[in-house]
């Protein structure tokens, strides 16, 4: 299994591309796009429905280890997490940013190739982070009271929860720019963000008010 080396990790491909040819898209558009990599990636992820079968599928279990070695400059401070996160990464690395659509793929590659180190770091965290399946399963079990939580259900709830965290953090950043504050996000920003999300109807509300919290 260690000999399967054809992982087409997008970071790897982007680094190769950088050396081969300059990006062809206009600079102005790119600058805007590179400014908001997380937002672009988030909406890019959301638009996708169909996924083509990536050729490196059989190697996704080892793809994690191999592409880490290949994409050297990226900071690898979470190596211990890799074993635990391998299940998450199988899903993440097996799928490339807008796959199946050559135009979108090309766009994504040009964006990725122009990332600064910090942006690449953040994008990597964005792609790789996720809730541990075991923890989510335990939480779901304790909520439902039933013992059988299927794996797809865990996957779906983890995906929904991750996107919700994204909405919270992005809205909190918007709040911070409105208040002209900088630095790490503080709880007051999150609370305001949560309040706004509730007003937008993005948070499920209980028809019966919660008692005895």
């Amino acid at each position: 299994m260690q000999t399967m080396k054809q992982s087409k990790d997008p970071f790897e491909v982007a680094f190769e591309e950088q050396e081969e040819s300059p990006p062809e898209s206009p600079i102005a558009a790119d600058e805007n796009e590179t400014q908001t990599p997380a937002a672009a990636a988030a909406s890019g992820q959301g638009d996708d429905v169909g996924t083509s079968v990536p050729p490196s599928l059989p190697s996704t279990t080892t793809g994690a280890a191999i592409s880490i070695g290949a994409a050297g400059p990226i900071v690898k401070s979470k190596e211990e997490d890799e074993e635990e996160d391998e299940e998450n990464m199988e899903i993440e690395l097996g799928k490339f940013p807008p796959s199946g659509d050559p135009d979108k793929m090309a766009k994504m590659q040009t964006i990725l190739s122009q990332f600064t180190d910090e942006q690449m770091n953040r994008y990597e965290s964005f792609r790789r982070s996720g809730f541990q399946k075991a923890n989510m399963k335990r939480l779901l079990t304790s909520i439902t009271g039933s013992s059988k939580i299927s794996v797809p259900m865990t996957i779906v709830v983890s995906g929904i929860a991750k996107m919700f965290v994204g909405e919270l953090v992005e809205t909190a950043r918007i709040v911070m720019t409105e208040r002209k504050e900088r630095g790490p996000i503080r709880p007051c920003h999150i609370r305001e963000a949560f309040r706004r999300l509730k007003l937008e109807g993005k948070v499920p509300r209980r028809s019966v008010p919660r008692l005895f919290r």
């Binding site: 997380a38 988030a42 909406s43 992820q45 959301g46 638009d47 429905v49 169909g50 996924t51 599928l57 059989p58 996704t60 199988e90 899903i91 097996g94 799928k95 770091n121 953040r122 994008y123 990597e124 965290s125 964005f126 792609r127 790789r128 982070s129 996720g130 809730f131 541990q132 939480l139 779901l140 079990t141 304790s142 909520i143 439902t144 009271g145 013992s147 299927s150 794996v151 259900m153 996957i155 779906v156 709830v157 995906g159 929904i160 929860a161 965290v165 919270l168 953090v169 992005e170 950043r173 790490p184 996000i185 503080r186 709880p187 920003h189 999150i190 949560f194 948070v203 499920p204 919290r213």
Partner: protein, 128 residues
Amino acid sequence: MNNPSAGPSSKTKVGSSQSSETSFKRKRGVFQKDLQHMMYGFGDDPNPFPETVALVEDIVVEYVTDMVHKAQDIASKRGKLLTEDFLFLIRKDLPKLNRCTELLSMNEELKQARKAFEVDEEKLASTE
């Protein structure tokens, strides 16, 4: 089944003797590590404030709880709780819906790939 300490915002730290699967008390910081990376990925500082992470964890757990309860309400007519109930809940939120269908189809692909891989391995083993 109604248990006052079933509220997910119970703040007691559970000792190791109580960590059964059906325990209703919740430890703090279950998702802390994951959330730190996640929040950084979505735009926070590389080192988010611990209070912020704790607050986000509380909010997420409450969100998941409320959503599961709503899904159970929907599913109670049919009987068992299914993945489709969650998909029905987020049907109006297109980014989430698309992401979930994508994740599910990827999961299927990986399952097929793993199956095919195992079949090959068996073939190799039997021909040796």
